[in-house]
């Protein structure tokens, strides 16, 4: 909300502070000021001048030479403006002064534009006459200003006076961010009340009195509200003998500063009251209201209605309509209809000030696709009591501005209105919650300023109805805190029972995953949780792959963000591809993030959120580099037993000959492999890429940070090397399984030290060599021990078609 400070000061006349002080103090008391702008910024040495004489420029057809009386003297000014004539009073910026902008109305330069005396085509010019744009405003705000020309004052301004003052520009517009609970503060009166309380100055709200013409409103209009839940109150008043004309300058200026374009006295009054009271008003031409009857009812499904902006709107039974005896005349709280629009010929006006159900207005505005200033206010849920005050204020202004006559009386149809809330006054409770020691008297002073009345006999506080946010004692405590000052509340630390800070085990494992990934050269990425369903095709998933059963978002930002991921690879591959296409070399990334596995679709219970540790890389490194990272990680979290790899992982998106499931104690922990070249193509990546995905919920149950010292071996180890010729299809994992199984208790370690296929080895075979280490904990091994163990191993290997090389 934007409001001129001068408007606030109209109700808090004793307010004295700088703009910055105002902003800081209001923000600290809870009415946040987002910023402010001085309307006279960069306007210097600008006075009202009268053009006494105009002569043609001797050397330029389009220029004229004006003698301008500025009170103290007459200055010569050359201008190209076409709209001035002798006798006009105009704003004049003198030599050495400043204006805010250029005459084209473009963006205002930060430091304004300096004006200096000079010569125009040889003729001296000692200043400049200004357009409204040069004064930093525009014709929306000053509708009387001419298009492309010098601003011309009305005759009542004094020659030599401050022209900025005469335009009402010595003012500051403040932008407020009002929180949704403070419906009362979406109004000048509400802000002024807060201002008065913040600065502890008296508050003088408008005094509303209406003379009336002696008529009776009931002779003009009747009102029937069919749905009192959606319309708790409907107030109607009538004004006759309407004379449409411009509203007074003071009203125009205040509206202009709030960003509202002045139009005519009637429209301006409704807008003015909406700003001032926060109550949207609507004015109908009573002569167009059939049967002089208003009916408030729901629309019918499928109805259509043309709003006064000329658009047809589709309605349904949840949209509340204002109707006359024959037809709809407006969408309640949102916009009036074209059929009852006020024209300059209007004679009799029907004013409407109503309260509508906020939630319904919000939904209706969405449904009909039209959000207006009015609906924006109604949807917050306005105080029905305010409607009466506002409609009377509008009638007062009709009289004061000579816009028409007011018919006596108001038609008021209301259901049961909310009553004032009464709460016991409990100062100790407020202090206990705040940690303060504010005196009872000070609290009562605060309450008085914000119009909570205190009944000492009952020790009760009565909350005015415009404060819909004050319902419980904690709300009252906040009022105390706001005006006592949040900055004066002490800073303490919670006392009470000490607690232990903890990082849960699952998160400690994830921390370890990050550490190990980074030691291994992988940097952490972050990917979105939702992605396109096209991802499944990009990853070559089978039509019946369970991963295709993904949770869809009902209202996604677009297809690219429409399903919750069931596989973590798309994010990783996209990130690798981004790097690849930016020519980054040797990229290694990891990610820790959830996938979302539905138990059933559509969702009836929450899905299984599974943390995935995903690694990806291209450039330096291969399948076994990735395998190394997995083993480093698993070892670091206590999975010390043998990790097994099953090449039949069945992942379509991986190279069929270069993939494996990672298996521990019979459980599949995840998989790794080289990305299928077709998938690489799908991601526009022309390098071999390797990925690994570990399913953390499978890993955490095996993980432990317990460690036991096993002693350092005291007896010597004995090593034996074996060299084998092995059928190609036998994997070294199978050989290792035999060694591990048959080596017995004295087997300490075995290491592959050579693997070879080629010329010296017969077709279909490969050469494999292992170094096997034996050691006993309690004695020095003897030849017989080793020979026995080796014999068992060799027998086992021979059984697999393996030949020993001499």
């Amino acid at each position: 909300m934007n409001t001129a400070l001068s408007w606030i000061k109209a109700y808090v006349p004793d307010l004295e502070c700088t703009d910055q002080e105002y902003m800081d103090a209001m923000t600290l008391s809870g009415t946040k000021v987002e910023g402010y702008s001085r309307r006279d910024n960069n306007l210097e040495k600008i006075v009202v001048g009268r053009i006494d004489k105009i002569e043609r420029h001797p050397d330029a057809d389009k220029l004229i030479v004006c003698q301008v009386n500025i009170g103290s003297e007459v200055v010569q000014i050359v201008t190209g403006a076409p709209n001035v004539k002798e006798g006009d009073k105009v704003p004049v910026v003198l030599d050495g002064g400043k204006v805010a902008g250029g005459h084209d109305g473009g963006p205002l330069p930060e430091d304004g534009i300096q004006i200096k005396a000079g010569k125009l085509r040889g003729v001296p010019s000692n200043g400049m006459m200004c357009s409204i744009e040069e004064l930093g405003s525009d014709r929306n705000m000053y509708p009387e200003a001419p298009e492309l020309g010098i601003y011309i004052f009305e005759d009542d301004v004094e020659v030599g006076a401050d022209a900025v003052e005469a335009l009402g520009l010595h003012d500051t517009v403040f932008e407020y961010e009002v929180t949704s609970n403070r419906v009362d503060c979406y109004s000048v009166i509400g802000i002024a009340r807060e201002t008065a309380a913040t600065f502890r100055k008296p508050f003088y709200p408008p005094q509303v009195t209406v003379t009336g013409n002696g008529g009776n409103v009931e002779d003009y209009i009747s009102v029937e509200v069919e749905d009192k839940e959606l319309c708790p109150r409907y107030c109607a008043r009538v004004c006759t003998n309407i004379q449409i004309g411009p509203s007074p300058k003071w009203m125009q200026r205040r509206l202009a500063a709030s960003g509202i374009r002045p139009i005519n006295n009637l429209v301006d009054i409704t807008n003015y009251v909406m700003e001032e009271y926060g109550q949207p008003m609507h004015a109908y031409d009573l002569d167009m209201i059939a049967g002089h009857k208003i009916i408030v009812r729901r629309a019918k499904d499928g109805d259509s209605f043309r709003t006064l902006d000329g658009q047809d709107r589709n309605l349904d039974a949840d949209v509340l309509m204002i109707c006359d005896a024959e037809k709809e005349v407006g969408i309640a709280g949102i916009m009036g209809g074209e059929n009852s629009m006020i024209t300059d010929e209007v004679k009799t006006v029907l004013f409407e000030a109503a309260a509508f159900n906020g939630a319904n207005i919000r939904k209706s505005a969405k449904r009909v696709g039209l959000r207006t200033d009015a609906s924006g206010k109604f949807e917050k849920g306005l105080d029905p009591h305010n409607a009466e005050a506002a409609i009377n204020r509008a009638c007062q202004l009709i009289e004061e501005l000579g816009c028409g006559e007011v018919v006596d009386g108001m038609v008021d149809v209301s259901g049961e209105l909310k009553q004032e809330v009464v709460l016991p006054f409990e100062p100790d409770k407020y202090n206990k919650l705040l940690g303060t020691d504010v005196s009872k008297e000070e609290m009562l002073d605060i309450f008085k300023m914000i119009e909570l009345s205190y009944d000492p006999a009952a020790n009760n506080l009565t909350i005015p109805t415009f404060r819909q946010d004050l319902l419980r004692q904690c709300d009252i405590a906040e009022e105390v805190a706001r005006f006592y000052g949040y900055d004066k509340i002490p800073s303490t630390l919670p006392s009470g029972e000490a607690t232990t800070g903890k990082l849960p085990f699952k998160l400690r494992i994830e921390q370890k995953a990050r550490d190990i990934a980074e030691y291994c050269g992988f940097s952490q990425g972050m990917c979105y949780s939702f992605e396109s369903p096209k991802v499944f095709d990009k990853l070559l998933l089978d039509a019946d792959d369970p991963a295709r059963r993904a949770i869809s978002i009902a209202n996604p930002l677009g297809e690219d963000f429409s399903v919750m991921r069931t596989v973590s690879l798309n994010g990783m591959l996209t990130s690798l591809a981004t790097n690849y296409n930016r020519r980054n070399k040797d990229v290694r990334l990891y990610e820790l993030g959830n996938i979302y596995v539905p138990k059933a679709l559509p969702l009836t219970e929450l899905p299984d959120e599974r943390m995935q540790f995903t690694l990806g890389m291209y450039g330096d490194g291969d399948f076994f580099t990735m395998k190394g990272v997995i083993e480093e990680f698993l070892d670091s979290i206590g999975l010390h037993k043998k990790i097994k790899y099953d090449p039949n992982a069945g992942k379509n998106f991986l190279h069929p000959g270069r993939q494996a499931n990672v298996i521990y104690e019979g459980t599949i922990l995840g998989y790794l492999g080289e990305v299928h070249p077709e998938v690489c193509d799908n991601y526009d990546m022309k390098a071999r890429a390797y990925v690994a995905v570990l399913d953390m919920p499978q890993i955490v149950p095996y993980a432990t940070f317990d460690r036991k010292y096993e002693g350092i071996a005291r007896y010597p180890a004995v090593m034996r090397d074996i060299s084998m010729v092995v059928p190609k299809e036998v994997m070294v994992g199978q050989i290792e399984a035999v060694i591990a199984q048959r080596g017995g208790r004295i087997l300490e370690d075995y290491q592959l030290f050579d693997i070879y296929e080629g010329d010296q080895i017969k077709e279909g075979y490969k050469s494999v060599a292992y170094s096997i280490t034996f050691r006993a904990k309690d004695r020095t091994l003897e030849d017989a021990d080793i020979t026995a163990a080796m014999k068992k191993i060799l027998n086992g290997l021979e059984g697999m078609g393996i030949e020993l090389r001499s």
Binding site: N181, R182, T436, D469, L503, K506, S523, N555, L589
Partner: protein, 339 residues
């Protein structure tokens, strides 16, 4: 005899002095001190010396030997040192040649910020907890005092899965799960991913992270909230950091506040970074609304508490001066390597 010994000594010392290599010194050792050396020869000639003079001569010989040995030893050491130095001189390297690095990877800036925050609160006795990202409406809204028609529900632009299941818009939902466990007192922080339907741009992302904090105990006050968060701000942004609390509104806290910290770039004087204000908005907080406590089965007459919510990306962007939020999800290695 004495003269002879003096002569031998002088000659030995002269030879030592003129030696320019270790081998030569060794020759001197052999020639004078060895089994066939000159001093040994003198001792062998003892039989020609009168018995009463023998001890004296013996002593002289030993003294001479000791003296030669001493000088010889010093020369050997000196020469060895010279040889080693000459060798090292040849081994001079160019220390400005590139390092052999292990190419350690880098943590994501958001995670670095998260771990900082976790460290601070764990130190203050808080437990880190997690809650589901796909959440029920009740936990995300209703139990936080945001009933069906509440305007705050619109403000948050929620992604829905079904009418009742949604992507959580705030980690505050975790508060409710924690309170429902019924174990008091509570001191927890809940970091996690949240979702709002904002289009991706330099300052918005449909997915980002928050850290929720909740303390519930007897006698918890707004002053405690102020003190705790002031401590947090100092730990995170530096000892000089000051905080400012402004009244605000959240449906699930009352009183509520927003906290600003002094701009860590200019220290509060006002600069371009803080848009001249000297302060930067950092988090929302407040005293847990009694109705929220009631709904989760906690008696607000006995217990009170405070809660706060910090945007993790906001902290990361501010702290590391990252000017575009999209960088956080692009995973360009040139970006990640800077952290």
């Amino acid at each position: 005899m004495k003269e002879k010994l003096e002569q031998i000594k002088a000659e030995a010392l002269r030879q030592i002095a003129s030696s320019d290599a270790l081998e030569k010194l060794n020759e001197v050792r052999v020639n004078y001190l060895g089994k066939k050396g000159e001093l040994t020869a003198v001792l062998k000639g003892m039989k020609d010396v009168a018995p009463e003079d023998r001890p004296k001569v013996g002593q002289l010989v030993n003294e001479t030997r000791a003296e030669i040995e001493k000088v010889l030893e010093e020369s050997v050491k000196k020469m060895e040192r010279a040889v080693r130095e000459a060798k090292m001189k040849k081994e001079v390297i160019d220390v400005t040649l590139p390092a052999k690095k292990n190419n350690v990877g880098h943590r994501h800036p958001s995670t670095i910020a998260l771990e900082e925050v976790e460290r601070i609160f764990i130190g203050m006795g808080y437990e880190v907890v997690e809650g589901p990202e796909v959440e029920r409406d009740y936990y995300n809204f209703e139990a936080l005092n945001i009933p069906a028609d509440h305007p705050a529900k619109d403000e948050q632009d929620t992604f829905y899965i079904t009418g009742d299941i949604l992507l959580r818009t705030q980690t505050s939902s975790t508060q409710v799960h924690e309170m429902e466990k019924g174990k008091l007192p509570i001191r927890m922080i809940a970091p996690g991913r949240v979702f709002r339907s904002d289009e991706v741009d330099a300052t918005h992302s449909p997915s980002f992270h928050q850290i929720e904090g909740l303390v519930i105990d007897k006698n918890i006050t707004l002053a405690d909230l102020k003190g705790t968060l002031a401590e947090f701000a100092k730990e995170l942004f530096g000892e000089e950091t000051k905080v400012k609390f402004r009244p605000h509104h959240f449906p699930f806290t009352e009183p509520s506040a927003e906290m600003d910290v002094t701009c860590f770039k200019c220290g509060g004087k006002g600069c371009r970074f803080c848009k001249g204000e000297g302060w930067i908005e950092i988090l929302g907080c407040g005293m847990v609304h009694p109705h929220v406590l009631e709904m989760s089965g906690i008696d607000p007459e006995q217990y009170s508490g405070f809660a706060f919510g910090v945007g993790l990306e906001r902290i990361a962007l501010l702290k590391y001066e990252i000017d575009d939020m999209r960088l956080l999800y692009e995973n360009d290695i040139r970006f990640l390597k800077q952290f």
